[in-house]
Amino acid sequence: MTTIEPAKAEHDTARQSALPSQRSTATRGTRIIGIVAVVALGWLVAFGLGFSPADRDQDESVRILYVHVPTIWLAYLAFVVTAVSSAMYLFSKKKSLGWDRAAGASAEIGVTFVAVTLAVGAMWGRLTWGVFWQWDARLTTTALLFVTYIGYLAVRRLGGSHEQRAKRSAVLGMIAVVEIPLVHFSVKMWRSLHQEATVANLDGDTKMDGLMLFSLFVGVIAFTLLYVWLMLHRTRSMAMEDLLEERGLDEALAVRRAEAAETATAATSAPPTATMKTGSDS
């Protein structure tokens, strides 16, 4: 959780009055969601590792599924939220940076979830297929999705004003989302080592043991709550970062003005060679 130090009185500017009064990103709402998420994750552990049965072919390794599948679904959701927020920023009249921060926060969580999907998927692959990785359609497109959004996060950090950041990342966020159907339907479009979808398929036929399906459902609920909790905290901490950055600029400006004033005084009493050359050597 991010906290902001109280503003220094000597550099007080009008903008600082916009700083949030709270010093933490937590609210009553996030605490409740956090507690419910922890309970749901406890349920996931109980059902995923305990109550659900082993699989006929995969044996105990089927339990990896209860993390592998929910994390990629939540990553899909996260990237869709990024795209929608990006569109809201670009096409709304107000151009609120709140949409931009929601897009960025959601992409960060999505990338983390895809990383989890890939990591636990490789373990499952080693146990079931006999290999950690193969360049089949599903794995390859998922890898592409992963690096694309790492690129998106890098673009967000290229510098410039908050508005510049928002505009260029919004365009990228709306383009990158087309990879999601590519990933999801890759197993239908091409022959792949990866199996086709059991639950999220279009034929409405779920060939899965009841308790396994329920454990998967618990996983989806738990990771959804975790996503919401992370989103709330991350968007708030990003808002604070943006404010802090602006305040930092104001302070830097004030310091430079003071420097200039000092130099002006020094220049009148000292030879030019002793003049401070702040920033001019870059």
Binding site: W129, A137, T140, G159, S161, H162, L193, A260, A264, T275
Partner: protein, 175 residues
């Protein structure tokens, strides 16, 4: 905030100082080469390289990952004189292990082919399960150097298997 109270009055000092405002009139940050952070650029360069590798792999490997046994010399890219990935179901009772070599036959859609693999296939390899074997066809048999076990989209409790075992339905029940 305005910049009208700035720069200082002495022009000669102004020439020595970088007095360009660091914020726009509305207080937002201006892009500046001095503030350039190289880490995102480095990450972006790596992303472009990784993306290129992935797309190459996609075009050379991921599109049509395997041929089925009945497609040898029938389907484009499934010729028997080149290295292929062949998919088929391991025939019941065909697995023979001797001198570190695992021999079995795989079938798909009525066509069968013997497979020789040096070593013990990993994963959940067993009879009646679909596999993808990488290798070259020599003397009427696929000399495999890699066996990958495919998993279907079906998830069955291990408890249900005992019921099936009791009925002894063989490959049809397991596949």
């Amino acid at each position: 905030m305005s910049d009208t109270d700035f720069p200082p009055s002495d022009d000669s000092i102004a020439n020595d100082l970088d007095l360009a405002p660091r914020t726009n009139i509305d207080g937002t940050a201006m892009s500046s080469r001095q503030k350039r952070n190289w880490l995102p650029i480095l990450v972006l360069a790596m992303v472009v390289v990784a993306g290129g590798v992935i797309v190459t792999q996609f075009l050379t490997s991921a599109v049509d990952y395997y041929c089925n046994v009945d497609e040898i010399n029938v389907r484009d890219g499934c010729d028997d004189n080149r290295r292929i990935r062949l998919q088929g179901t391991v025939d019941e009772g065909s697995v023979v292990r001797s001198d570190g070599v695992t021999a079995f036959t795989i079938s798909f859609n009525g066509a069968s082919l013997p497979v020789r693999y040096s070593g013990e296939p990993g994963g959940i390899f067993k009879e009646c399960i679909p596999v993808v074997v990488h290798g070259v066809i020599e003397e009427g048999a696929l000399q495999g150097d890699r066996v990958e076990v495919k998993h279907s989209d079906e998830y069955v409790s291990v408890n249900d298997e005992r019921v099936v075992d009791a009925q002894d339905l063989g490959c049809d029940a397991a596949a």
